[in-house]
């Protein structure tokens, strides 16, 4: 191992709590080596805490700043970023929250965090051309569909989009939200520069699940049709208008 790599590994240890091997490699003077290393450790924690606070604002509001900071600090030591693109940091936070023993009654918290993560992913997903009505062939039964790269489905026993909504600054005051029996199936995606979500019925949820797996439309419709609430023309219409589907490369290439 090169001396540089060894130094990097020791330094990384200092950032996450272990000063083993590094202190004697650093010049200490009026400010000892430990104090200098601590500045980096503090910066690492503070900057990632800020990243998590920006990505999970409602989660933070629900548990309060102190509990959020304590939890986020534990998470960022446990699971530091794997990419220098910070918009990609925090995907493991909902699962981390779910594993905490003391959510003090906030059982829905991991699902709120999962919803906020989906919003973040949708915000930063790559841009692609959208499938347009005129791209559709006359017989669309055998057609397969590509969902927009921002599109994500979430299923939760809690009314997470309602809880999220009442924590928005412009939201009117709501006295209470009914938790029991308020499960949601959600599609989160981005149209243009605007992140959107839609509450799916059972049939729509199934249709999108099948299409996302590459199942042709007629088979996907049959699968979705077992749900009484499924209304294909209405559902397909808002999905197509809403930019839920990407324009397949085959169409983009033949049009070029």
């Amino acid at each position: 191992m090169s001396a540089l790599l060894e130094r990097q590994r020791e330094f990384a240890g200092a950032l996450t709590g272990s000063l083993y091997g590094i202190v004697e490699k650093v010049i200490g003077d009026a400010i000892p080596a430990e104090g200098r290393l601590q500045i980096y450790a503090d910066r690492f924690r503070a900057s990632l805490l800020e990243v998590l606070a920006l990505t999970f604002p409602v989660t933070r509001a629900l548990v309060g700043e102190a509990f959020f900071a304590q939890t986020a600090r534990a998470f960022l030591i446990f699971d530091p970023p794997r990419s220098p693109v910070l918009a990609q940091y925090g995907g493991g936070f909902p699962t981390f929250l779910a594993a905490l023993p003391d959510l003090s009654g906030h059982h829905y918290l991991p699902d709120i965090a999962a919803f906020e993560w989906a919003l973040n992913v949708a915000e930063h997903a790559e841009d692609v051309d959208l499938l347009r009505p005129e791209d559709l062939p006359d017989a669309i039964e055998e057609m397969t569909f590509t969902l927009h790269p921002s599109a994500q489905r979430l299923s939760t026993p809690f009314p997470v989009s309602e809880i999220w909504q009442v924590h928005q600054p412009e939201s009117p005051a709501v006295e209470r939200i009914q938790l029991a029996g308020s499960s949601e199936r959600l599609l989160v995606w981005r149209r243009g520069i605007t992140v959107r979500w839609h509450k799916l019925n059972h049939g729509e949820d199934r249709l999108l699940a099948e299409l996302a797996n590459g199942v042709p439309l007629d088979a996907a419709m049959q699968a979705a049709g077992v749900h009484e609430d499924f209304d294909f023309p209405a559902s397909f219409s808002w999905m197509l208008d809403g930019g839920v589907f990407a324009r397949p490369a085959s169409i983009t290439e033949s049009a070029a």
Binding site: S2, L4, V26, L37, P84, I193
Partner: protein, 338 residues
């Protein structure tokens, strides 16, 4: 999405001056300085300013972006696409960690290459630092020992990036809070040799330089140490100067400066800037804020102040006597130094 080149709007033509004035390094200067007039100061573009910038189109010279903020799609890319039609753009990458023993991450380099191919920026810069190891990233510019071993790996990494991007990049001096006992090469010398061996240019961040100097030798000795540092940089290789603010903290009861980009440029940094401008008159200047982000108009006013400071520094008989604090309360947006 469209992939066409930006239309050169009239503003771009009027803002961009002949960048070959001054005394740039022969060869690479022309390749990396198209459209950045040294007398016009650029500002760091941050997402909270996107809408205001496009609505008000303030009289700024150019924009410097964080590459990592614009690697996805959506709103960030949407606003950048409009901004690039109005101003020259420089790209500052922070995620490649070219000071690492490890090779630059291929996925991340590819993301940067796609952004640079699309944007065709005037400059691309990285930092003399590492950012991660063993697949983990620490979201900071971390220090490396300045040894011949690390110089070798840094040259190798800069070569890889320049080869992939098919253009020279600039390497910036980092702010640092510690030094390694094993370092054998002074940082300015390290950058000089890196530039010589890899063909990269140098970005002289005068705030980082001041912050590091205070943190390493104390406030009293810092200005002289920083001036000596400027003296030992190879002038023709310096193509950009960066300005920013810092904050103060105490470590074990002693003063440390923190490079948080969350304050007005400090008075000693303005003095260092004047020295840097005199030494590197062909270099473009940028000003950046990251924390405590002020309204865009404040940034624009501070950038205009920098333009006046720069012009004054190049007229030695009329050294600036104005205080930046007083002047920044003024809102005369059209006054130009050049």
């Amino acid at each position: 999405m469209t992939d066409q080149k930006p239309i050169a709007a009239p503003t771009r033509e009027t803002l961009a001056r002949d960048a070959t004035t001054g005394s740039p390094a022969p060869g690479i200067a022309a390749a990396i300085l198209p459209g950045l007039a040294p007398e016009r100061v650029g500002i760091g573009l941050r997402p909270p300013h996107h809408q205001d910038l496009l609505d008000t189109r303030p009289p700024i010279g150019w924009l410097e972006i964080h590459a990592e903020t614009y690697m996805g799609g959506g709103a960030a890319r949407h606003y950048l696409e409009q901004a690039r039609a109005l101003w020259p753009i420089a790209v500052q990458a922070t995620g490649l960690g070219l000071g690492s023993d490890e090779l630059p991450d291929t996925d991340h380099l590819n993301r940067l290459a796609r952004l640079v191919d699309w944007l065709e920026p005037a400059l691309v810069s990285e930092h003399l630092a590492w950012v991660g190891v063993d697949g983990r990233y620490y979201n900071d510019l971390l220090p490396l020992p300045y040894t011949s071993e690390s110089l070798e790996s840094c040259c190798r990494n800069v070569d890889i990036v320049q080869g992939r991007l098919k253009r020279p990049i600039l390497m910036a001096n980092p702010a640092s809070y510690l030094r390694f006992r094993e370092s054998q090469i002074a940082e300015a010398e390290f950058l000089s040799r890196l530039s010589q061996q890899s063909g990269c240019g140098i970005l002289c961040d005068v705030n980082n330089l001041y912050v590091s100097s205070v943190n390493h030798v104390g406030r009293e000795a810092a200005p002289a140490v920083a001036e000596a540092y400027l003296d030992s940089l190879p002038g023709p290789a310096v193509h950009q100067i960066r300005l920013a603010g810092h904050s103060e903290c105490t470590a074990d009861g002693k003063l440390m400066l923190i490079d948080d980009h969350g304050a007005l440029v400090a008075e000693p940094v303005w003095r260092l800037y004047a020295s840097a401008v005199q030494r590197f008159p062909h270099a473009a200047t940028s000003l950046e804020w990251d924390s405590n982000l002020p309204p865009l108009a404040h940034l624009v006013a501070e950038a205009q102040h920098a333009e006046r400071q720069r012009a004054a520094a190049l007229r030695p008989s009329e050294l600036p006597g104005d205080s930046p604090g007083d002047e920044l309360t003024a809102t005369d947006g059209d006054e130009r130094a050049a």
